[in-house]
């Protein structure tokens, strides 16, 4: 969207900072296409005024022209003084949107009635523009979404702040760099749960009901039960369809190990991501081994976040 030269120039003009206050130094203003059409209308009016020598047609043209010029001040004022602050970001997975929150603060003003700001939109290139509500509030936090394309840190680039208020004839805008970044986790792959998720030893506390090692009991058949567990003999006797149930003891502490999964690096990371998510959902304790780094097994959202972060940043 922004050419490299323009980008370098912008970096000098509006250096990245987590909080930027807009002023004449960093706000640009230019007529929109509608503004140019409006200019054409004025030219037409002046032509009519000249040919008809009608003073008041001149008057209308001059009044509209003056309104246009005054609108420059209004449009600029609408952005000027606003402070944009990075609040934070929320990570997402590859292919999904990451959220970046930006707070827009209106400066305090003197006067009996404080006038709000209208029709301001912010957004990142490639994302959707969001309206900022500063009409009745002093500050508004907007959540912007950018699609994560690769794992790792996502730099959404400069954020566009623009307004066409009040007449749509002029556009005031700026590109600010709030140094925003958001973490993109690998795209999770939910493959069949591999054996490594389950311990093969007869110890530990938890029982995996779906295990198939040791017989535990018999129960009535329900659709979905494995066919090879059906006790055909009793069925042949005319009794009800029964199944044998087996269970295995699970190793409660799971290790998600990069070396234990198949595929290329990205695919392996994706698989581990899927496993981590599943393990967390099942409230299992799990740890992570990624080459040199190792995260001790634990449970909970915070742990999941740490694990996902390692996965996202592995090798970058």
């Amino acid at each position: 969207m922004l050419g490299p030269r323009f980008g370098r120039w912008l970096d000098q003009r509006i250096p990245p900072a987590p909080s930027i206050t807009l002023s004449q130094r960093n706000v640009f203003i230019f007529p929109t296409r509608t503004g140019f059409v409006f200019g054409g209308l004025l030219a037409l009016l002046i032509l009519a005024a000249i040919n008809y020598q009608a003073s008041l047609v001149y008057g209308v043209a001059f009044l509209l022209g003056s309104v246009f010029l005054v609108t420059i001040l209004y449009t600029f004022r609408n952005l000027s003084g606003l402070t944009l602050e990075l609040v934070g970001s929320r990570p997402g997975f590859v292919g999904e949107d990451v959220e970046i929150s930006v707070r827009v603060v209106r400066p305090g003003e003197r006067g009996r009635r404080r006038r709000g700001r209208e029709g301001i939109q912010v957004g990142f290139p490639g994302g959707i523009m969001q309206w900022v509500e500063l009409q009745r509030r002093e500050a508004d936090t907007v959540r912007l979404y950018v699609t994560g394309r690769r794992r790792g840190w996502l730099d959404p680039g400069r954020m566009l702040v623009e307004t066409y208020y009040p007449l749509g004839l002029l556009r005031a805008w700026t590109w600010v760099d709030l140094d925003a970044r958001a973490l993109v986790y690998p795209k999770p792959l939910f493959a069949d749960l591999p054996d490594l998720m389950y311990g093969r030893r007869d110890e530990g506390e938890l029982v995996d009901p779906q295990g198939s090692e040791d017989f535990t009991d018999i129960k009535a058949y329900r659709p979905g039960d494995p066919i090879k567990h059906i006790i055909w003999r009793s069925y042949a006797r005319g009794e009800e369809l029964m199944v044998k149930r087996y269970a295995s003891y699970m190793e409660p502490r799971l290790w998600l190990d990069l070396d234990q999964v198949q595929g290329g690096l990205e695919e392996r990371l994706s698989r581990l991501t899927g496993m981590a998510l599943t393990a967390c959902r099942l409230e299992r304790e799990f740890g992570l081994r990624l080459g040199g780094t190792e995260l001790a097994p634990a449970t909970g959202e915070a742990h999941l976040e740490r694990v996902l972060r390692e996965l996202a940043l592995h090798g970058l």
């Binding site: 040919n51 001149y58 602050e85 305090g108 939109q121």
Partner: protein
């Protein structure tokens, strides 16, 4: 049902990031763009406001179409009706254009153009869907506002149009406000403020923006203007007297001549065909030494005329008027013409020399003599011809005696002056009038006299113009209204030149001495319009009010409407001393900059930061300094949690922190707890200690 959406998901409505996408509906997003209801409501009101004043100038059905379209749109707005289908639109457009053609205005007249503009404005409103449509309707509205001034530039209209312009602008503001909100009052407030703040700059532009002479001289003329015509049937001027519209105002440098001397000469009618006098026919060129020139040292009557639009090029002046405005020419029949048809108030300076003769040479040039003695074939009006010839032979060939005889005849016989004379046949109309009906208006008497003079071989012509006028006591200018329209006679005497004779003075002397009102019979007066009657009979306050309004309008004409190339040159000369492009440009820049600067001052004055709560100020100051020492406060961090973070970072001693947090919380968030200077000073010193410690820590 295609009703306007109430709430829109923000963001989606505005389309993508690219500005280009703003033009149409939010392309490719799957959400059809809908014009904010705010704008729609305002646009419908604005449309009514813009279309209504055209009632006076265009045929009423157009206005009805406009209002119907507005009504239709409001139906769509409320969800009761649908947008028009394609074929309905096609039928509407075709019917409207056909309607304009049938209205009877000529195809290339201002009326036709304005009619089409109003129709486009109205029809576009019903089919308006996208943002671009809305912009188009709004721009058409602006154009319609300006176009009305081609019909009428009075103060009242100007004030009204500023209001209409504010309404249209309010719709434009609404279009750019948050889509989910409907706040027409806020839009109106913003637009009114914008327009008012733009006014000073408008004045500057009006004064300094260079005025240019017309680029091409065939603008569409308006086809309906009240006033004199270059063709005159005897009954025509009587119709004019029913109008109290202003014809022109004249500002005399010195004293205003007496009313009976105010013969405002405008047109000469030399051709008489089928009972109609017309100004047709080419005039010869000026011969050498034929142009009148005032004697050296002769003082004339200086005055300036502000002529209301006539759509024609003839101008009015007192005999004998020599133009003092460049571009105004003196024709061979001693009338004045403007360089272009007068479509807007036209001001020109004139000097009149009452004693200067016209065509004083002993012989009239042949072409002129033929022109001014020409009569239709002998079969037309035979009785009057014979009558004139017999009078002439009785007078011994003396034209003056002939005129005296005719005037005596009018005086002694029962001839009447009336606004509603019996209608006459086209053929033999003068016979019929002179010998049978004997009731007529100024044109009847003037026409009859010219015919008789020509029949007797004397060069004569009918002159049309205005006679008299009313002095406005407020400004001292003379107002001449349509009911002052008059016709009189000029006949040529060898050596003396053209002499004016007014047969109306014989039948109704009061008309010349005191104006139309005095000469009217009671029946005639009843046929006048209410306002004309009021002007005649008005007493006291009402009459004063009319005078006052007129003088206001006069000043408006003088300084605003009449602000043309010449006046601009005069004004700029006074203001700048010398008119050079650099000076004008500089003045435009300085004055424009000053008026914009004043607006900027108003806009940004309030923007200085508001006085803060002293505790808040002290704390924010503290935060700013600590940020410099490497401990910035996060935007979402409450003061207490910030201090706690500082504590865990070792900037604040654990012993200190608890007290400080409690203190800050108490002072900032407990309005009930009063605090004095003492508290503030203590807080400041506490914060200063923390700061110093942080600074030391940073150095280490």
């Amino acid at each position: 049902m295609a009703s306007e959406g109430e709430a829109m998901p923000a963001g989606g409505a505005r389309g993508g990031l690219r500005t280009g996408a703003r033009g149409g509906a939010a392309r490719g997003r799957g959400i059809a763009y809908q014009i904010p209801r705010n704008t729609l409501a305002l646009l419908m009101i604005a449309q009514v406001a813009v279309v209504l004043p055209y009632l006076l100038h265009l045929s009423p059905w157009l206005i009805a179409v406009g209002l119907f379209c507005g009504y239709w749109r409001s139906g769509v707005y409320q969800g009761r009706w649908d947008y028009p289908r394609r074929w309905v639109k096609a039928v509407l457009v075709a019917a409207s254009i056909g309607g304009v053609a049938l209205t009877g205005v000529s195809a290339f007249s201002l009326e036709a153009a304005a009619s089409l503009l109003i129709l486009a404005f109205a029809l576009k409103l019903i089919e308006m869907k996208s943002r671009r449509d809305a912009y188009l309707v709004i721009f058409l509205g602006y154009f319609a506002i300006a176009t009305l001034f081609l019909f009428d530039q009075s103060i009242a209209v100007a004030v009204y149009q500023i209001g209409a312009l504010m309404l249209v602008t309010a719709a434009l503001v609404g279009l750019n406000q948050l889509v989910t909100r409907v706040r027409p009052l806020e839009s109106l407030r913003v637009s009114a403020l914008l327009v008012l703040q733009a006014l000073p700059l408008t004045v500057v532009l009006f004064l300094f923006f260079p005025r240019v002479a017309p680029l091409w001289s065939v603008p569409l003329p308006s086809s309906s203007v009240t006033g004199l015509s270059d063709r005159m049937k005897p009954g025509d001027v009587a119709e004019l007297t029913r109008s109290d519209e202003l014809a022109f105002r004249a500002v005399f440098a010195g004293e205003v001549p007496p009313k009976r001397a105010l013969y405002w000469r405008g047109l000469t009618y030399s051709r008489f065909v089928e009972g109609t006098w017309s100004a047709a026919g080419l005039l010869p060129e000026w011969g050498t030494a034929e142009r009148p020139a005032p004697a050296a040292g002769a003082s004339g009557i200086d005055y300036e005329v502000l002529l209301e639009p006539t759509s024609s090029d003839w101008l009015f002046g007192l005999d004998l008027a020599l133009p003092a405005t460049p571009g105004v020419t003196l024709e061979r029949d001693f009338r004045l013409t403007a360089p272009d048809p007068v479509l807007s108030v036209f001001r020109y300076r004139v000097t009149s020399y009452p004693d200067l003769g016209m065509d004083q040479a002993p012989r009239l040039p042949d072409r002129l003599r033929i022109r001014e003695t020409w009569l239709p074939d002998d079969g037309d009006n035979p009785r009057v011809r014979a009558y004139a010839r017999s009078l002439m032979s009785a007078a011994g060939g003396d034209a003056e005696a002939l005129v005296a005889a005719v005037v005596a005849q009018i005086r002694s016989e029962p001839y009447f002056y009336t606004l509603s004379p019996p209608p006459l046949q086209d053929r033999n109309s003068i016979d019929e009038f002179w010998f049978q009906t004997r009731r007529g208006f100024c044109t009847h008497y003037a026409g009859a006299l010219v015919f008789m003079l020509r029949a007797a071989g004397v060069p004569a012509r009918m002159v049309g113009g205005y006679q008299g006028g009313e002095i406005n006591p407020v400004t001292g200018h003379v107002m001449v209204r349509q009911y002052d329209a008059h016709a009189w006679v000029e006949y040529w005497l060898a050596g003396e030149g053209w002499r004016r004779v007014d047969p109306t003075a014989a039948v109704a002397p009061a008309r010349i001495e005191e104006g139309l009102n005095a000469a009217l019979s009671p029946e005639d007066r009843e046929s006048l319009s209410a306002l004309t009657a009021a002007r005649f009979d008005g007493v006291g306050v009402f009459r004063d009010l009319l005078y006052w309004a007129d003088s206001l309008e006069h000043r408006w004409n003088l300084w605003v409407i009449g602000y043309d190339t010449h006046l601009q040159a005069d004004v700029l000369q006074d203001l700048l001393g010398e008119i050079t492009p650099a000076r004008v440009g500089l003045a435009l820049l300085l004055a424009g900059g000053a008026s914009l600067g004043a607006v900027a001052l108003v806009l940004f004055w309030r923007r200085r930061s508001a006085p803060r709560h002293p505790v808040e100020g002290a704390f924010q100051d503290f935060c700013r300094r600590l940020a410099g020492a490497g401990w910035p406060r996060r935007p979402d961090e409450a003061p207490a949690s910030y201090l706690r973070r500082l504590e865990s970072g070792g900037v604040i001693g654990a012993d200190q922190a608890g007290a400080l947090v409690a203190e800050v919380d108490r002072l900032l968030y407990n309005p009930g707890a009063g605090w004095g200077r003492q508290d503030l000073r203590r807080l400041r010193s506490q914060l200063r200690r923390v700061r110093l410690r942080a600074a030391l820590g940073a150095r280490r």
